[in-house]
């Protein structure tokens, strides 16, 4: 039994007012599932972490538990390991993310091409992003073994004596940055490719007519249109880079010494190996503040940058 209704203009006006109220009710009902998930997985643990960071809680020393006020934060401020972990975290943000942006942009420009071979290569380039980070860590661990691994073998074929990856602080940081870059460049590349594909044709035609060289085309037409996308990619990469864990866990375990121990890894060891939950919560809060601060500053900058255009 199907039929169609046809409404008068008056009826339409009346029902659209009613609709707005009912629509709002519908929207509310629809938000409930995501609010529930967000609440249980994000808000509640955050509040619990704040509460725990104000406590003295070591699971193996129950006799020491009690309210500690800001003692955990004072301890954090005086802890050289904490400051070292901040430095390491900043290194792991600056170096890999910078390289990822440059490489991702370059790769996207390279692969922005309609030829079939290029389209196939695109899928291959995306592969590192798809592999779970733990697997990537295990693959690279084998590659990094100095005398038995693949990397030094191939370098030896070209005649370069490969260094002892992972064995000295400098090379360990370089190795982890390499793995992070390998893993995440496809993400940036995808975003930039999508932006390139959606750019309007007319400015390019105009540029060709005006006789602009390819560098000038890139500088004045392509790049300004890519800036919003690049900023989004940058924000995502920065937030993600602070959460670099599986690769470090597999490859170096924070070593040698404490050279590759960023803040989240330090919080993990404190909480799960030493079972010092109070202090670990304080460290986790510090990480949260760091991420939130970076994101807020970044979004402000992004809004300004986009406005200026």
């Amino acid at each position: 039994m199907r039929s169609a209704t046809v409404l008068s203009a008056n009826q339409q006006a009346r029902s659209s007012r009613r609709l707005r109220r009912e629509e709002r009710a519908t929207y509310f009902w629809f938000l409930i599932p995501s609010l529930v998930v967000l609440g249980t997985l994000s808000i509640i643990p955050l509040c619990t972490t704040i509460y725990l960071s104000l406590q003295n809680l070591n699971l193996t020393q129950p006799f020491l538990s009690g309210f500690a006020g800001l003692a955990n934060f004072q301890r954090m401020a005086a802890d050289p390991v904490f400051w070292n972990s901040i430095v390491v975290a900043v290194i792991f943000i600056l170096v890999p993310v910078g390289a990822q942006m440059l490489l991702g942009l370059a790769l996207a420009l390279l692969l922005y091409n309609k030829q079939p071979i290029v389209r196939i290569s695109r899928s291959l380039f995306i592969a590192p992003m798809v592999i779970p980070p733990v697997i990537a860590g295990l693959i690279w661990k084998i590659l990094f073994i100095p005398n038995l691994g693949g990397l030094n073998f191939f370098l030896g074929l070209i005649g370069i004596a490969g260094p002892n990856w992972l064995e000295t602080p400098f090379w360990a940081i370089v190795s982890i940055c390499m793995v992070a870059i390998w893993e995440n460049t496809p993400f940036v590349m995808l975003l930039v490719l999508a932006a390139l594909e959606s750019m309007p044709e007319e400015p390019f035609e105009a540029a060709r007519v005006d006789g602009a060289s390819s560098t000038q085309t890139f500088q004045f037409i392509t790049f300004p249109q890519l800036v919003p996308v690049l900023l989004v990619a940058l924000l995502f990469r920065i937030i993600d880079a602070l959460g670099i864990f599986p690769v470090i866990f597999i490859l170096t375990g924070g070593g040698p010494g404490r050279a590759t121990e960023p803040l989240n890894y330090y919080a993990y060891t404190t909480g799960f190996t030493y079972l010092d939950i109070g202090y670990a919560s304080a460290l986790a809060l510090a990480l949260f503040v760091l991420i939130a601060g970076i994101s807020v500053a970044f979004l402000r900058f992004k809004l300004r940058a986009v406005e200026v255009e």
């Binding site: 203009a9 040698p256 010494g257």
Partner: protein, 579 residues
């Protein structure tokens, strides 16, 4: 399609210009829901045309109300309904997922085992599934238990069976990790069920994961596990946190324990002590780990060297053997308390250093004593100059890999891992591999020692049944059968070590692994690593200090001083002393 218009002529008149479309042909199909007046309908008829039609008097407004949407569910109502369904399913799922999880690993399904008694303690090495070998076993050496007559049960198992009568039908949750002893137990859970009627669900993880999971579960006190596996050196931590029960009440309860049958004196000394804290027994020992010194006989012969027995010999041999293609030495050095901190005390204690001024009365650490610094310097020198290139992150996997691939001439690694070194299928140089005890220093020989235990969580709701499982899992026949089935060599009962079938199974091509293993354990000291609750922190920080010394980030002096400072503060905070 029900359309009521004043006359049919309209359709004919307008012809192709408009068509009343049924409600679900439009892209946003919608149904009606008894609620005509609030319908929003797609409108395939443009409004101006409608107005024209009205103006023309072709369609009266009255008629419009006759044209009803006969479908019964409006779009909005449908979406509302879908939203409610989603919410309810998600809440149901959330409730289901938050209930205590059933054991994830597939425990052996309780098959109906024929009601035969379990085998005698000496099964033939080719034993398939539970055979009822009726042959009277040869009398073992002194101290051997009275082996039962043909068709009877071993007295230990008999005692457990008698005590388990009230607990028939219980189900236990047990957690363990993935290694040969666990395989041995898993393969015999059916036997346990037929012996006592108790079903056991075994959760198996990797070692590091198991330690963390046990800590979390015991701290939360959920009662998720009835018997928990305590890894090496962790009994003090669990005992102090009051997560596990002292076992004296169970040991002294004649209804649960037949002390003669349990035969506590049969356990090796150091493993038995590893289950104690504050002079109370908290665990039953399951596994004893130690390390041996492996070496390549051909390389040592080529260089005219004897297998080194002292630290100086070792350093001299390493200097001579080390070359670009062949590292002299391989040992764990990764930054974990199960990494560098596991073999390091060989040298630390061997040079005469102590962990504390006077354990347990004066707990000030003495990590930066001259002997301690000497040990650290020796370690840094040996590893950085003569060790495998990836020393700083080497785990036991890397050590085995380097040695079996011929990239290292000497190694110190776990004794239970000897199978990897001596098995021709796994090692290219198996026939050239020799083994002996770890080298000794000026203060003596301190072979590594690690004892694992079964422990009884306070939060368990089936402690008595759990206690019976613990007894069964460390009984003589279970160890023997496990060795035959799963190649588990690191057992904790002396009678098993002396059993002929056990000896025969673990003699690889002339090498008497068991001799070396046994001697190593006999000389082992339960205080090889300090049995304090703060061991994980001490071990981790010690490994970091060693790492830094090996990679040259700090001098050995500096590394040990910093470590001493940190550990003094840590122990002060833990309340061992005031200043």
């Amino acid at each position: 399609m029900k359309v009521q218009l004043q006359s049919d002529g309209i359709r004919q008149e307008l012809g192709q210009e408009f068509r009343l479309q049924p409600c679900w042909d439009s892209p946003l199909w919608s149904f009606g829901f008894f609620n005509r007046s609030s319908e929003i309908s797609f409108n395939s008829i443009p409004t101006p045309l409608l107005a024209d039609l009205k103006l023309l008097g072709i369609i009266h407004s009255k008629d419009w109300e006759e044209i009803v949407m006969d479908c019964f569910l409006s779009r909005r109502a449908f979406l509302r309904l879908a939203g409610l369904v989603m919410i309810s399913t998600s809440t149901v799922l959330a409730a289901a997922c938050s209930s205590p999880p059933a054991a994830p690993t597939a425990a052996l399904a309780p098959t109906t085992v024929p009601a035969k008694p379990t085998v005698q303690p000496t099964p033939p090495p080719q034993a398939a599934a539970s055979s009822t070998a009726a042959s009277a076993p040869a009398p073992a050496a002194t101290g051997a238990p009275t082996t039962s007559a043909v068709g009877g049960l071993d007295p230990q198992l008999k005692a457990i069976q008698a005590a388990a009568k009230p607990y028939n039908g219980a189900t236990l949750n047990v957690i363990s990790f993935n290694f040969p002893y666990n395989d041995a137990i898993k393969a015999q859970l059916d036997d346990f069920k037929s012996l006592t009627g108790i079903t056991v669900k075994l959760d198996v993880f990797s070692e590091a994961d198991m330690v963390k999971k046990v800590a979390v579960e015991l701290a939360a006190g959920t009662g998720a596990y009835d018997v928990a596996y305590a890894d090496g050196g962790l009994i003090p931590q669990y005992a102090q946190a009051k997560w596990i029960e002292p076992l004296e009440p169970y040991l002294n309860n004649p209804k649960l324990t037949d002390k003669d049958a349990l035969d506590v004196a049969d356990f090796l000394q150091a493993p038995w002590e590893s289950g104690q804290w504050n002079k109370q027994q908290y665990g039953l020992p399951t596994f004893v780990g130690t390390q041996l010194f492996y070496y390549r006989k051909d390389i040592l012969q080529k260089n005219g060297l004897n297998p080194p027995d002292t630290f100086d010999d070792l350093m001299a041999a390493a200097k001579k053997i080390n070359s670009k293609d062949l590292s002299a030495f391989a040992i764990r050095d990764n930054r974990d308390q199960a990494g560098a901190s596991w073999p390091f005390p060989i040298f630390y204690l061997g040079y005469g250093a102590q962990w504390f001024k006077s354990f347990p009365t004066d707990m000030h650490p003495t990590l930066d004593s001259p002997e301690g610094i000497k040990a650290c310097a020796y370690w840094a020198d040996l590893l950085s100059h003569y060790g495998i290139p990836n020393e700083a992150t080497a785990t036991f996997d890397d050590v085995i890999l380097a040695f079996t691939q011929g990239k290292a001439a000497m190694a110190i690694e776990g004794a239970p891992l000897a199978a990897q070194f001596l098995n021709p299928a796994k090692s290219k140089f198996a026939d050239q591999t020799g083994l002996k005890l770890v080298p000794k220093g000026p203060a003596g020989r301190f072979p590594p020692f690690s004892g694992h235990n079964w422990s009884l969580p306070v939060s368990s709701k089936q402690k008595e049944a759990g206690w019976l499982f613990m007894q069964w899992a460390v009984s003589r026949s279970v160890f023997l059968k496990g060795s035959a089935k799963a190649g588990n060599v690191a057992v904790t009962r002396q009678s098993v070590w002396k059993d002929p079938s056990f000896v025969k199974a673990f003699t690889y091509g002339g090498q008497n692994l068991l001799d070396a293993f046994n001697q190593s354990i006999a000389q082992a000291n339960a205080q090889y690593r300090p049995t304090i609750p703060e061991w994980p922190q001490l071990g981790d920080n010690l490994a970091v200090a060693l790492n830094e010394a090996v990679t040259g980030q700090k001098t050995p002096d500096q590394a040990m001083h910093d470590l001493e400072k940190d550990m003094t503060a840590l122990f002060q905070k833990a309340g061992y002393y005031k200043s």
